[in-house]
Symmetry: D2
Subunit: 492 residues, 4 copies
């Protein structure tokens, strides 16, 4: 296969090499992971992210995965670009569907970072406009450099929060959200944690921004910056995922080698960030907008993600049907429903992209209402798709109800198991398909799409706020020729 | 209010005048309707269609409802335009939402005609390319003239069909689908019927095309043409709609005066059509494409229709809640779900528009898969929206459970009824709102969105045909590293 | 057909005769209805109720529709019985399904009365126990007599209410709920209205009780009694229903002659009730229980109602499919879903019946939680059943999109319409089926099941109150071996 | 706590002792499990089953979990009883709900055995009646003895099946379903496998019966018998479950110690069964009934199972909400929906029980239609319940997104993780709740309810077969006064 070559863009191998050079600061099960590219708990996610680099160099995917940067004039990864138009945003939605198609799961070390830098692109522009600061210029400089280095950039928003009824500054422990502890000539020092952060093991840097709107008393929490993943005093602990223990085993009980997810707790123990990487420091008035600029593209594009995994489920379910000896047409109604679910979240992402509007900073903000409607679909439709996948697959797929790889190859009884697993294909192949379905629907391949990028209830708040009830009431009154004014009673 | 004035576009009054000039050939309840603009069974739909003319002249709606015709260089109604781009198609979706907002219901005398002429625009181009005919030129000429005359154009596809297990030529009676009976120098003569045709009472002309794919033995059924609504030998019988008897009554039991639907049976008793109005005559090989070119924009745009009526339902339900003495926020979850339903069909229409592609004839064909997914949503989501409207409204709205206008104003007990109907507003206003909700959810305002433009089961066939199962299976196999080929067993 | 004959039970003709003897006090469209058994606006509901009398005398239905009264030792209508056991309650659910099967719609002149007298049976027992009154004895006497007279008894709970944020005594107008105005040696005098009351046209008497829990300041609203439908100073106005105008027309546009619903506004202008018919007068403390005793059997049994209408929809949709020339098996998935919906509301009614408990008064109170869960199903599942009926039926059924009876038989074009309506049966038969589907799904046959007997939101309040969250939390803690106590934070 | 003591019933310790005495023949990960009561891969399911013994001796549960056997006159486990009445079947549904409440998951070593012996109770009666055999007497004798020994009895129906388009006798390999290989004076010898068999590790014996209807050519597959779990030549391989690797780890990453599921592949390598344990051998004509008698009680009672786990989810979600610092009332709508789901499957089980009928053998067959409707609900509603649990829990519960037990207690950073995990409770407690939610919704606690006892598509076939379409069509015709007969067209 011929690959394009661009001097600004890394090959998969160069990408892995860049990770190997970094300081080891990631732990799982009490063990420090020395080389993330080979360690069983991280290598799959890195293989998945490496596919982005590979596909970016392939003619059929290049237009989707890369774009020309106005900052550098060079072709850069779309994940390091500013979304400047409806077309860019449409490409974002399609890119995410493609990457799920290629990896079977989430390549979370890129999308939150991509969204965060876009959100801060618009936000820093607004801060500078109003406050006379120079955050936007610094972000522009850092980004041009990041594009040249072709880094993988994770994004980190979620704080531990502690007691959810109180703002950060009212917590017993001030560290329950990430905050400023010192500001000096060279930069700032921060303390706290960001939690459930996707894909940091696959990332070179992490883009940090606030996860919620803050008031004045919480201004020390209004901070945004980019740091190397291996920054001093930053400790990372990877979380468990369903069946993650199998990742250390031999065989196909984790059926996918070329994709995987990780989610981590980032512990900031007085981490220093130089000023040229600081993009917000105390400007609490802009945290609300920053979050809204993050969620619009995120909640639009995530429709592409779940559609992309849904595609795999349509394929895997059909394959399992055949393996079981049934024509997949027997399940036509179910497969059509799965396609409807996939295309709905994909289509709503596209529509949100197209109905967006240009921000004065040059970035493109997708339509907020449609993006949040899509978030609600993303929190419901894929669950039906998973259920239908299990329904088509039969009992063997439902809970992965088949012997382990080790047993299937046991000297004493393995041959018998293989015989009894065989149907319209070998027992081994049928076992692999069953494991794939387990992985997709109730295993390590299930992405955190319901709460990733915020909860569906949060999305409903935005939908509710977007609905102009008074205007719709006037429409109804006009139609029925009603002149009397009816005041809304106080809600009890 | 200042209205724009364009010499090519009619005012509402000119539109009505054009209808009054036509021959009376529409019947209902055995009565010939002499003046459709004033007769109680047709005047509401004409008021609805007249709003298109009015809004087309209003600055805030002009861009949406009109466009510049490349045929004439003049500003023309969008309903008489060729959809040439994603933007045109997006405008189509938005236009339909707007018209439901303004009329509360369907202005069906325009959209099927609009779709049919676009479908035949591409189809005549293909016929001419392959067969050396000149249909496309004739269509172009007719259209340029129609634009100048600013006509209202209904569309007619659905044949009676008879026994659905047999094609037209195998029916006992050859007339069960509309067909050619004579072809001569001047034109053709057709016989049969088109049924359940929307909005002909409000139309100046009717665009006729096949409603399904035909084989060679049915080539006499492969006909398309445009005729005046009052053509010789064409008899039109309007159907009943829920509660249509009320349209002849005084008062607000039909609560909307500025919108309404009609659907008719068109009886063609050897109707003559001159050749310059004939756009297909026997070219059965192109009927399949013609239908597909019809359904793509129709099924995309209908998402705007039901969203537009859903908007009114959000408004009407909120107003009813207030009239009942409750703050609509009490029903926040339900209202959010209604908004989600509205925006989903709207958004899917937009996405289908955007992901379409250019036809060699210059027309724009929306994405077929997304359009058909939307058709399924249109056949389900609005039903939930109606149910929620009734749920919010309370018993008084559910089945319109309140006395008639005549009783509410009865000399003996009307005042008492008004008193007992009053709540957080007068009894009269509360009754009007209840009637509006009845009209929207179980009355004459309910559009035939489930089967209009074809059934959801038909849409599912297209979805099924669009899903590339083999490709998705390959994706799944690649992920799980499966090499064994598994053949699809025969379906029993 | 041989009919049983019981001296205590009326024949259908005797039932109609009993109605004809009553004073005319029912109005619709400003007209006083002299004979409810023949007037087009009331005769269908009376035919429906007459079927109860007929079926009660038929061997196959006798066990279901009648029972032996412990008060009289005679066989009486189940609608006039006290529900004393799980078996009685199961029979109630089945009886309602049967009556929908036989009439196609609601025979609402009996079930609310039946429920109300059962609710007051338990309530009067409790009042007497606590207050030393003799309401229960009076109710027993009245009931024994009612059984002997074999009356049809409607029930009336719903008050106009006015401003829903205020209790009756705080309304501007004290009449917004029915209330006591005078109490004397002979009886009481009441004023106000009961609204949306089902089936009074078919009833001999009306059982009135409070529709909600009242506090002390509203004690004048805590009244219950039974009165003849034609009581002095009681004026009844029938409401409109969808397409009710057709009831006065000739032909089959109202397709069902042997069933129909009415709902009325009852205007009480100082109506006198003698003491032996008064079952509550001021004992406000018992209104809460009275309502709960009403809703338990009502919300359980209504599952039988909607299942019974759903049965007809399965039949009508299958028949329409055949008439269209399609085998109903084509729609197997949809028909199975309709059956699931029917059996779910039916089954939940049965389960609520069986898990009930005996009240000290001897009556049987169905399980409140399951009854209210069923109310939520009744407010959702039949809507899907209706939608599926329309989907199977095709466009002709969706909105009753076919010409009127008058047009189908018009001398000029009627034969043509009949021809074009014909398919796998005559045009006339196909039209009748289409009208039946319209009537069932969007016409006069649609019962007010969503809000009848209270709203689904009210049911959810009961469900929420029934869920013992603390107990379920303890279960979860025990399983995960959690010892720490976690207090519920205040809800903001 | 005082426990009852019955000489026929084992204590939990006696139960475990009975297991320890058995021959080791269960493998997992290539390892022979010597003591199932202590081995990490089996001990949790045995603890769960031991709770049945404990609860059977507790006054509050005794009536539900035990009954008096007509065979022995002694109190016996309900799991070893014949279901003889609606009350017995209601108790079965409630018992399963209780056991899920107590163990959090499935105690599958008992219910399939219980169902299988009941199915064969009726079936052997029918065989003997028709064929003059003595299977029923042998079953009665074996059962009386089993009751005295108070054994735990698993059930095994599912065969590997191989190519699903062919019956067993047409497979390339005759062993793809379990079959007879030899019949002699002492008994029979069988070969093949039963797969995905629940709870055998916790069982003393296994009741085997056919899993589908067989024709004459497959009569060697028509076999039923009971054998000790440790029978000669029987090898058992336990399957993997989601996250089952954690079961061998220390700490709470498997959060439940008192419940667990196992599912196994049973390899029969010429296993001998003496005649007095053989209950069918070649009587293929009765296999259809046998299966139907199995699925009726199974599909009714499984509604209790999923309701019981749903109860835990309501508790766990509420607890997580509190732990997160939110009052669970914030999620009232979601919790009510979860309760509705729970009560619906529970209620449908109850209704199926009550509407059942007595078999001549004395056993009670629940209503087939309602049981199968319930199977469809069981395959859909719990998936929504799980989704809502994850939605309420927040991101930490969705995919169990938190560090491992080992990391939470790591010397270097464990304290920090605990701090950041704390909210309205300690970090440890919050972690335990999150793990419980993961276990319930996407972990080892998820039961195989969709395909256990047969698939929902199979249930829909039964529903379809149960619906008497002709009768419902006649109902519809009667209502609309339709006399014309309409034949069903052939399905294409």
């Amino acid at each position: 296969m011929h690959l394009f070559s661009f001097h600004t863009m890394k090959t998969p191998e160069e990408y892995k090499e860049s990770l190997r050079k970094m300081r080891a600061n990631i732990y799982k099960f009490g063990e420090l992971i020395e080389d993330v590219t080979t360690h069983p708990f991280t290598r799959r996610t890195i293989e998945g992210h490496a596919q982005i680099f590979e596909a970016s160099l392939m003619p059929e995917y290049q237009e989707l995965l890369t774009t020309i940067s106005p900052l550098t004039g060079e072709r850069v990864s779309r994940y390091l670009s500013i979304i400047q138009s409806a077309e860019d945003m449409v490409a974002n939605v399609k890119m995410k569907r493609l990457m799920f198609n290629l990896t079977g799961t989430c390549t979370g070390g890129r999308c939150a970072g991509f969204n965060a830098l876009n959100a801060m692109w618009a936000t820093t522009y607004e801060i500078d406009e109003k406050m006379g600061t120079d955050y936007h210029k610094k972000l522009r400089n850092w980004l041009a450099d990041a594009q040249k280095r072709d880094i993988t950039l994770a994004g980190a928003l979620t704080d531990p929060k502690g007691d959810r009824t109180k703002p950060p500054s009212k917590q017993k422990d001030p560290d329950m959200s990430l905050h400023l502890v010192e500001k000096n000539e060279d930069g700032i020092v921060v303390r706290g944690a960001k939690v459930m952060i996707c894909g940091v093991a696959a990332a070179n840097e992490i883009f940090v921004m606030p996860g919620m709107r803050y008031g004045e008393e919480d201004k020390d929490y209004a901070i945004s910056f980019a740091i190397p993943r291996d920054a001093e005093n930053l400790t990372i602990v990877e979380t468990r995922r369903p069946s993650d223990g199998r990742e250390a085993e031999e065989g196909f009980d984790i059926p996918v080698d070329i994709g995987g997810i990780t989610q981590a707790y980032l512990l900031f123990d007085d981490v220093f960030i130089p000023w040229d990487r600081v993009f917000m420091c105390g400007e609490y008035e802009f945290t609300g907008n920053a979050v809204m600029y993050f969620i619009a593209p995120y909640r639009a594009a995530i429709g592409g993600c779940v559609a992309g995994q849904g595609d795999i489920m349509v394929g895997a379910a059909s394959l399992m049907a055949r393996a079981n000896g049934l024509n997949e047409k027997v399940f036509k109604q179910k497969l059509v429903q799965m396609v409807i679910n996939n295309e709905t979240t994909f289509g709503m992402g596209i529509a949100s992209a197209v109905l967006g509007k240009k921000h004065p900073s040059g970035s493109w903000i997708p339509d907020q209402l449609l993006a949040n409607v899509n978030k609600v679909h993303v929190a419901t439709l894929p669950y039906e798709t998973k259920r239908l996948t299990q329904e088509i697959a039969g009992g063997i797929g439902e809970t992965g109800c088949l012997p382990s790889f080790k047993d299937i190859y046991d000297e004493r009884y393995g041959k018998k198991l293989q015989k009894y697993l065989s149907a319209n294909c070998s027992g081994e192949t049928r076992a692999k398909i069953a494991r794939l379905i387990e992985w997709l629907t109730i295993g390590a391949g299930v992405p955190g799409c319901m709460h990733g990028g915020g909860s569906p209830d949060g999305a409903k708040l935005v939908i509710n706020a977007s609905a102009d009830i008074e205007k719709l009431i006037e429409m109804a009154k006009r139609l029925a020729n009603i002149k009397e004014d009816i005041e809304a009673p106080k809600k009890k």
